[in-house]
Every structure is written in structure tokens, then in C-alpha cells.
């Protein structure tokens, strides 16, 4: 690096370093630890003490929300929270607004599910709209900052960073915000709303030239295939669109979608889903095990419930599925399993 470049960069480095991450309050992690050790009431007591001395920030509320939802739901990662947890979460939201704090995107995402389970989906949508507005503000501020930085006016950059709420404005919407909102719609049994938000996501992605990858299609398919008939159609359409776009959906959500379609006796769509999913690796044994189960069910339903004139077409489709995954047809498998049993008798 040349000497002139070093002198040019140094003040910028100093300015950058002056905005290092800070830990706002010592109490945050202790509140969380007390909550997990002694229960929500213990954390709430310490939270109230911190709040009375104005020592709460976004992280405090994030931890309290984690405790309110985590300690009042079924073990595991179930998004279903009981009445107490939901009331506590909404209470925290009100307190946070009273304290003038801006929530993070993750905080908003968790509230979507709370609102949905509380029958207040429209409030989740209103929150999402404010996240979209925050994104626009952030973008404008970012462009403004970039222009000042490029102009080399460091004093102006410093003044801008000190006044503009760039770091405080963290409630911008992301593609995951759409996913969480759609999940909330499915949870609230509002398929039309889910369809609307899915369309908005696809349009925004298209406008920005982004293709929906596995990180989005997987949670979307998992959520949509858990809903009713209408959301199942949405899942199917999304699955097909991903396939046509050259990025087939991952195995786990595709297999779940196939199972949901089988429950609705939509054998043709279920078989097509298997043909359009991403090809799993050979070492993913659980995928092949699930595939065999789905195929056996498909063969069974084809033989028992399809009208005779439709059977050949579906059987041909199932043959293609077997060839694609190099799986034996159920009849071949049954015959192969009989051979070892018969062998000792023959010898």
C-alpha cells in the first residue's frame, strides 16, 4: 500500500472503529440466565428493575420475548405458544413501544406468529407494512451515506451516523419476513392472504432479479403443505415454478408436499412432485426410505382407487419415478425379498 493511500485510509479506519459494537447493559444476559434457571417470573422481576432504571434496550426485549415464547410453548421448535405466552409477548411489544425502541426484524417475525395465533393477523400485516417502509428509509439513508463517504467528507459522515438511525433502524423487511408472514397466514387459516403475500414476494424477487432458492422455498413449502386445500395448491405451484426455473426444491419439503397430496388423494400431482424435486445424494438414506414409502402408497392408491382407464398413465409416471431414483417397483421388491427365503429350501 502506498504512503499516500495509508494516510488517506487511516482517518476512515479510525471513524469505522469508533462505531464498534457495544454491549448496552450488563443485565441482559443475566436476565436471560435467571429466566431459564428460575422461570419467567424471576426474569420479569429483574427486567422490571432494569426498566425502572432505564437500563433496557432491544436486546433485553429480545431475550424477554425468547423467554415468554420459549417457556410457554411445547418443547422443541413448535411455533404454537399458549395463551399466557402470547399475552406476555404482546405486553412486551407494548412496553417496547412505550420505551421508544425500534424492534429488530427477528422480533417482528416472532410477533407475526403470536398475532396469527391470537386471531389478529391484520396487525401482523400492518407490522409487515411498517417493515417495508423502514426498508425504503434504510435504502435512502444508505445511498445518502455512500454518497457522503465517496465524496470524502468525513465530518459529514460522522454527523450523519450520529443523527441518522441507521443502526437503530433494524426492522427492515427481508425475504424471510415474507416467509414468516405467509407461515402466520397458514397458521391463522387465511389461505387467500397467504396467496397474496406469496405473489408479492415473487413479484419483488422478480423485480430485483432474485430467484427464490432453497432457503426460501423450503420453509415456504413446509408451511404451505401443512395448510388446507388452497395452500396446498400454492405449494404445488411454487414447487413447479422452482422446477421450471431450473432450481428444483429440496428433498425434505418435496417429500412432505407429496405426503400432503397423497392425503388428498391427488396421486398424479404427488408423483409429479417426486419427478420435479431435486435429486438427493446417494448417502441420504432417510430420503430414499421416505421415497420408498411414498412410492408404495402411490402404487397402492393407483391400484385401489384410480378408475381403470387412468391407471396406465399413472403407472407409467410411477415407473419414471422409480427409474429416476433407481428404486425397485413394489412388486419387484416383494419378489426380491422372497428369493432369500426360498433359497435355503431349494438348496
Amino acid at each position: 500500500m502506498s504512503a499516500s493511500l495509508i494516510t488517506e485510509c487511516l482517518p476512515q479506519q479510525v471513524l469505522f472503529d469508533s462505531f464498534k459494537h457495544r454491549v448496552s447493559h450488563a443485565t441482559n444476559y443475566l436476565i436471560l440466565a435467571h429466566g431459564y434457571k428460575h422461570g419467567y417470573a424471576a426474569a420479569e422481576k429483574r427486567f422490571a428493575e432494569a426498566r425502572s432504571s432505564a437500563q433496557v434496550d432491544m436486546l433485553t426485549y429480545t431475550f424477554m420475548l425468547e423467554l415468554a415464547l420459549g417457556l410457554h410453548s411445547r418443547p422443541g421448535r413448535s411455533p404454537l405458544v399458549n395463551e399466557t405466552g402470547r399475552t406476555l409477548a404482546l405486553g412486551l411489544w407494548d412496553m417496547m413501544r412505550e420505551d421508544g425502541l425500534t424492534p429488530s426484524s427477528q422480533f417482528c417475525h416472532r410477533l407475526f406468529a403470536v398475532y396469527a395465533q391470537h386471531g389478529r393477523l391484520e396487525e401482523a400485516e400492518a407490522l409487515f407494512a411498517s417493515m417495508q417502509a423502514a426498508s425504503q428509509t434504510m435504502r435512502r439513508s444508505g445511498e445518502d451515506l455512500a454518497a457522503r463517504w465517496a465524496g470524502g467528507d468525513l465530518e459529514s459522515v460522522r454527523a450523519f451516523l450520529a443523527t441518522a438511525s441507521l443502526s437503530g433502524n433494524s426492522m427492515c423487511h427481508t425475504s424471510h419476513s415474507y416467509v414468516r408472514l405467509i407461515e402466520a397466514c397458514v397458521m391463522a387459516n387465511q389461505p387467500q392472504r397467504a396467496a397474496l403475500h406469496l405473489k408479492a414476494l415473487q413479484e419483488e424477487a422478480q423485480a430485483k432479479g432474485i430467484f427464490l432458492g432453497h432457503e426460501l422455498t423450503t420453509p415456504l413449502l413446509l408451511a404451505l403443505s401443512r395448510g388446507g386445500l388452497e395452500t396446498l395448491d400454492l405449494a404445488l405451484e411454487l414447487h413447479q415454478r422452482s422446477f421450471e426455473g431450473g432450481r428444483p426444491c429440496a428433498a425434505a419439503p418435496s417429500i412432505q408436499l407429496c405426503g400432503a397430496l397423497l392425503k388428498q388423494r391427488r396421486e398424479h400431482a404427488a408423483a409429479t412432485t417426486l419427478l420435479q424435486m431435486a435429486l438427493p445424494r446417494r448417502d441420504q438414506q432417510w430420503v430414499y426410505s421416505k421415497l420408498e414409502q411414498r412410492l408404495a402408497k402411490l402404487h397402492e392408491l393407483t391400484a385401489s382407487s384410480q378408475p381403470p382407464e387412468r391407471r396406465p398413465e399413472l403407472e407409467a409416471l410411477l415407473d419414471t419415478v422409480c427409474e429416476r431414483f433407481e428404486l425397485q417397483r413394489p412388486a419387484e421388491k416383494a419378489a426380491a425379498e422372497q428369493v432369500p427365503a426360498a433359497a435355503p429350501a431349494a438348496s
Partner: protein, 121 residues
């Protein structure tokens, strides 16, 4: 990279150590052996290395080992400047385990190492 004559630097090693925390089960052994390899090939660890290491050890809930590694690295590598990000994974791990005493201990250690300038009152 090495086969093609590209020498790994601290960014390469930091990425590898960080990767050890992102697997389904954090790979502590590999994280530590990567750190040893760094020293062996003469790539000094950076502040980011310290963060990546505590991420792996914090996710594996191996707090004591993390504390001893931090102490050892800070003692042997005076150029390292730990930040609050170094301790956060450990603080979170102990808090989620409900270990109030250790959370307090870690917080005190963080304060002593980072200086109160990074911590609001």
C-alpha cells in the same frame, strides 16, 4: 487451494474455524486443530479467529475450554484485541443453560478484557 499453490491466510483459517460452529454438531476438535495448524504454518491468529473459536466452543457449550483458550491466546498473542463479540457466544450459551454464576463471571471477564469503554453503564 494448497494443491494449486494458493497460500491460506488468516481469512482462510477463520472461515474454517467458523465453519466448525455451523455444522449440526459443532466440531470442537477440528476447530482447535485448525487453530494449531495456523500457528504451525506461521499464520498469526486475528481478533476474528478469537470470535470464530468462541462461536464453536460456545455452541458446543464448552465454556471452560473456551475461557482457557481465550486466556492462552491473549497471553501468547499480545497483538490480539478482543471485543464483546468474543464473549457473546459464551454469554449466550451460559445464559440459555440457566447458569447465572458463570454468566456473571464471563461478563466480568469481558469487561476486564475489553475495557468499560465498550460497555454502556
Amino acid at each position: 487451494m494448497q494443491n494449486r499453490g494458493v497460500e491460506p491466510d488468516d481469512v482462510t483459517y477463520n472461515s474454517l474455524i467458523s465453519l466448525c460452529s455451523r455444522t449440526l454438531k459443532p466440531d470442537v476438535v477440528r476447530a482447535l486443530s485448525t487453530l494449531r495448524e495456523m500457528s504451525a504454518v506461521g499464520v498469526p491468529p486475528s481478533d476474528v479467529t478469537l470470535c470464530a473459536l468462541t462461536q464453536s466452543l460456545g455452541r458446543a457449550n464448552n465454556i471452560e475450554l473456551a475461557r482457557s483458550q481465550i486466556k492462552e491466546l491473549l497471553a501468547n498473542q499480545p497483538h490480539l484485541r478482543p471485543t464483546t463479540s468474543t464473549w457473546r457466544p459464551l454469554l449466550h450459551a451460559t445464559a440459555v443453560s440457566g447458569d447465572v454464576e458463570m454468566t456473571q463471571t464471563l461478563f466480568d471477564e469481558m469487561k476486564a478484557a475489553c475495557g468499560s469503554v465498550l460497555i454502556d453503564p
